[in-house]
């Protein structure tokens, strides 16, 4: 239904959707009003948003990589490995080419922890967002949703884990009963995404391929949470993990396993073996396109194709196209150089905008192209006045909206864009990007124009009228108005941005200094109130639809730099931190609660609008620029990688939204 409407709207407007994602957003908006729709079976119905119709399932073709194993009888043929109704990806309809299987995708990473990027890049979820940010069933065959209260999940019959064992309702039951509700394994109970109005759902297994979650109150956060780049997993490979669970395992066997792993008990062992997001246990069965085959520690991790992956292209090739990927670990600062020397096939992580010219220079020799994708943060750099600063004078100033507005008006953003980003970025406040259906130009323009006179007038109004001999304003307690803006030392360009901001602020009679420090010290100083102001990236998911939870716009976490203590209070349910004592911040908190209670998308969208408006008006974060560029290096032999796209964790899982399982080598060298 949604898809049809989307197609109609797009057709009426007579616009191609893909090159202008903002318009795709409009299409989303129009269909959002239909309350709590069912998520249809997956179809990748192309750029035009064609009517949802299930594509015919093509006759599967055996993958050369597995041909020997199948011939030797070690692996069942492809037709038996696929679910009875695989997800058919219609590449031509998406404007992509049908590819050929083979080859290895080489990637450079710096740390063993980076293995999780395979889970992010793979973006295989129960339900996924597609390129137009519409929800589509992926692992699930379909999902029925009644008023955001009753969710019925239908699995694909015959779907298997990467080790060949069936993936069934038992995997959901095990997670719910034996993991999420086990006092030892989950001391704090089921994850927040499964709690609606303080209560967990009722869980039922209807048949081996159907499970149901029922809440008394609406739980709109459920679907976005399981479709997230970092999903709330609600299933686990039960057949594998039971050997580590005291309820199922033989006592002596378990004791032996615990001893061999050198851990304190079965709980720790289960924890270690079951981390699906981290991708660090090669024995843990997965549903992702590639599975890890390397035990840590190692310098290079190899992932191999999952023989039971549930997606096929319309020609009958089982996806993914790449037989494997390798993650080679090394010093992060060397990664741009290694990439330019042709050591990676598709690479974006650890490349920065300032590497672009250098990467461009290596294009011809090493046969790759250096593309520029758009950064998906609400601001590449934003200033966060700490409303919980210990210094009373500064805290009072930070809490004065006129002061925040004056600082924002006093930044010459166009200059910063031209000097540091060659004019490629966008002058904007910290808010959603134009690609989001929730975008309004007023949000981006709010207090983001350069107006020294107005800024000075505001500062005079605040009462900072006395000045030192060099024109620096004096604080009410007689100190000079000198702000030390702290940054985490990882990002050199913040120092450059602050140099320019500082010279702009000097015209307002305010001196600014920048102080980079190590990430953990940086965060700790903010949390303890030692920091008056900090600089970091702005909104994390700046291309949201109303279906995403607006938790970044209200105090919800202690890691929010503008109100760490208010955030901690909400996060710890009132046991730590302090409650918000500013009416505007309180209002944001209430609005956010309202989103969690909302039972239809129209209501949720209204909440988003109000929260964005309030944030823009109050300038809790002073955005400098957004829409900066992320270099993405792609070998010329590889096809189907978008020329330009959004580079973000949420909502696009970096490469995930563009389906790396459909990237392929055009030549046969592999």
């Amino acid at each position: 239904m949604r898809a049809i409407l989307a197609a109609l709207v797009a057709a009426v407007l007579g616009l191609a959707v893909l090159p202008a994602p903002a318009l795709a957003g409009n299409a989303i908006e129009k269909v959002e009003d239909s309350a709590a729709p069912a998520i249809p079976p997956a179809v990748d119905d192309g750029a035009e948003g064609a009517p949802a119709s299930t594509l015919p399932i093509p006759t599967p073709v055996e993958t050369p990589f597995f041909a020997d194993a199948v011939a030797a009888g070690k692996l069942p043929p492809v037709a038996e490995r696929l679910p009875r109704t695989p997800r058919v990806v219609d590449l031509p309809a998406m404007g992509r080419q049908t590819g050929r299987p083979g080859g290895t995708w080489r990637m450079l990473m710096s740390d063993q922890r980076d293995l999780r990027f395979m889970t992010v890049f793979s973006y295989t979820r129960l339900v996924v967002f597609d390129e137009k940010l519409r929800l589509t069933a992926d692992i699930l065959q379909s999902l029925d949703n009644q008023d955001d209260k009753v969710f019925t999940l239908h699995l694909r019959p015959g779907h298997r884990w990467s080790d060949g064992q069936p993936f069934t309702a038992e995997d959901f039951r095990y997670w719910w009963e034996d993991f999420a509700n086990d006092k030892k394994l989950s001391p704090s109970g089921p994850p927040l995404a499964l709690i609606a109005n303080g209560k967990p759902p009722r869980f039922e297994v209807l048949d081996p391929e159907t499970v149901r979650y029922t809440w008394d109150d609406p739980n709109p956060g459920f679907i976005p949470a399981i479709a997230s780049a970092n999903p709330t997993f609600i299933f686990m490979p039960a057949h594998y993990l039971k050997q580590f669970h005291a309820k199922y395992a033989d006592k002596d066997e378990l004791a032996k396993l615990v001893k061999a792993a050198k851990v304190s008990g079965w709980v720790a062992l289960h924890e270690r073996k079951s981390r699906q997001y981290r991708g660090d246990n090669p024995d843990l069965p997965t549903l992702d396109p590639w599975r890890n085959t390397t035990y840590a520690p190692a310098e290079q991790f190899r992932f191999e194709r999952n023989p039971y992956f549930h997606r096929v292209d319309s020609a009958g090739h089982q996806l993914p196209y790449f037989d494997g990927t390798t993650l080679t670990l090394g010093t992060p600062t060397l990664i741009p150089a290694k990439t330019a020397a042709g050591d990676a096939d598709i690479q974006a992580r650890y490349l920065n905008f300032e590497d672009y010219t250098f990467l461009k220079a290596g294009e011809k020799v090493h046969n790759y192209s250096a593309r520029l994708w758009e950064d998906g943060h609400g601001a590449f750099a934003a200033l966060f006045p700490n409303l919980n600063a210990k210094d009373e004078t500064w805290r009072n100033l930070n809490r004065d909206v006129r002061f925040r507005r004056a600082l924002s008006l006093g930044i010459n953003r166009a200059d910063i864009n031209n000097v540091l980003f060659f004019g490629l970025a966008r002058v904007s406040a910290d808010t959603v990007l134009p690609q989001s259906p929730l975008f309004k130009p007023e949000l981006a323009e709010a207090y983001a124009t350069y107006d020294v006179a107005k800024a000075n007038a505001l500062l005079d109004e605040v009462g900072l009228t006395k000045r030192d001999t060099d024109g620096t304003r004096l604080l009410p307690d007689g100190r000079r108005a000198e702000i030390t803006v702290e940054t985490s030392g990882d990002n050199q360009i913040y120092t450059d941005i602050m140099e320019l901001v500082g010279s702009d602020w000097a015209k307002l009679g305010i001196r600014a200094y920048v102080h980079p420090s190590h990430l953990d010290i940086f965060r700790q100083r903010i949390a303890s109130g030692s920091t008056v102001m900090s600089m970091d990236v702005g909104m994390d998911n700046a291309v949201p639809t109303a279906e995403f939870e607006p938790n970044a716009l209200a105090p919800t976490q202690d890691s929010q730099y503008q109100w760490p203590e208010f955030g901690l209070y909400v996060q710890s349910s009132g046991s730590e931190g302090r409650p918000a004592d500013m009416p505007e911040v309180k209002k944001l908190e209430e609005l956010w609660q309202g989103w969690r209670r909302a039972d239809n998308l129209a209501e949720q969208r209204a909440v988003w609008r109000d929260m964005l408006q309030l944030n823009a008006d109050q300038v809790f974060a002073i955005g400098v620029v957004n829409g900066t560029r992320q270099p993405v290096v792609v070998s010329n032999r590889i096809k189907n990688v978008p020329e330009t796209a959004l580079w973000s964790f949420q909502p696009s899982s970096y490469f995930g939204l563009y389906m790396p399982d459909t990237f392929f080598y055009a030549d046969s060298k592999g």
Binding site: R106, D111, Q112, R113, R116, V120, S186, P187, S188, P191, A229, N230, T232, K262, V263, S264, V267, A268, E271, R272, Y277, T294, A296, P297, A298, E299, Q300, R302, T326, T328, G330, T331, T333, L334, A337, K338, A341, D343, H518, L519, D520, I521, R523, Q524, D540, Q557, S559, S572, F649, Q650
Partner: protein, 332 residues
Amino acid sequence: MLRYLVRRVLIMVPTLFVTSALIFTVMSAAPTNYFDNLVEEMQAQGEKVDQARIDFMKHEYGFDKPPVERYFWWVGGLLHGDFGYSFEYQLPVRQVVGDRVWLTILLSFSTIVFTWLVAFPIGIYSATHQYSWGDYGLTTIGLMGLAIPHFLLALIFLYFSNQWFGLSIGGLMDPKYFDAPMSWGKFTSILSHLWIPVVIIGTAGTGSMIRAVRANLLEELHKQYVVTARSKGLSPWRVLFKYPFRMSLNFFISDIGSILPSVISGGELVAIVLSLQTTGPLLIRALQSQDIYLAGSFLMLLSTLTVVGVLVSDVALAFLDPRIRLLGGSTK
């Protein structure tokens, strides 16, 4: 001699005990600990943080116990050859370090041999041809090696080895051999990559060693016994190597104490710049993330090697130089 040895070995016990206490105190004194770091890291990477889970991990690794108890638990493990547990890798430290030790030893021994092969001939030449053009020229080159920062040299080498020889940037072998078992291809790949860090790390050591060889040798060359030997008609080579050269080696032997730990830790900075698979980067990363058992065990290993190294050089000196006698014990 035996008494002396026993006494020295016994002194090592309290020395190492104090060292371990110092290491543990300094590492625990940091305002944050590994779990705070973990939370930051997880948040930065978009992972959800569950305080109950963090508390569980703290309990699991004994971080809810008082520091003194944790210290004895760690030291107790060390005595059993158990280097503790790396939080970061979630593996026993021994397993994390693994193959890296062998590559590090290979790199360090090659570097030491390189340094000797270059420094000794140059030092001897400079001493015997004092104030000649050759002396000035060679020592200048040596001093330049000492003066240029390692990491800068490493970056320059990195660029040109890739441009001219097509070597993969950084690392001790081609990435395709990372997990492969040892083979001829892997071996040659290691050799073709090894010379870069060897030369880079070696240059600094070479500079100072040339100076030391030259100075020590010069001092001996002007002594009476050398003049006597010469006047009695011994060949110049014989004169040089039989006495003054041997005497000038004292400094070199007493340096063994620092060679042993450097075999394990050699050239951390260069290893990071060049992305080498040695133990150096591991240690630095462990210190950064406050993976205290991994870092602590490393530092303990280095301290132990230093103490053993000093003992070895003292004993070796006693054998080498007849003027050195063990008077300490007998006179008191």
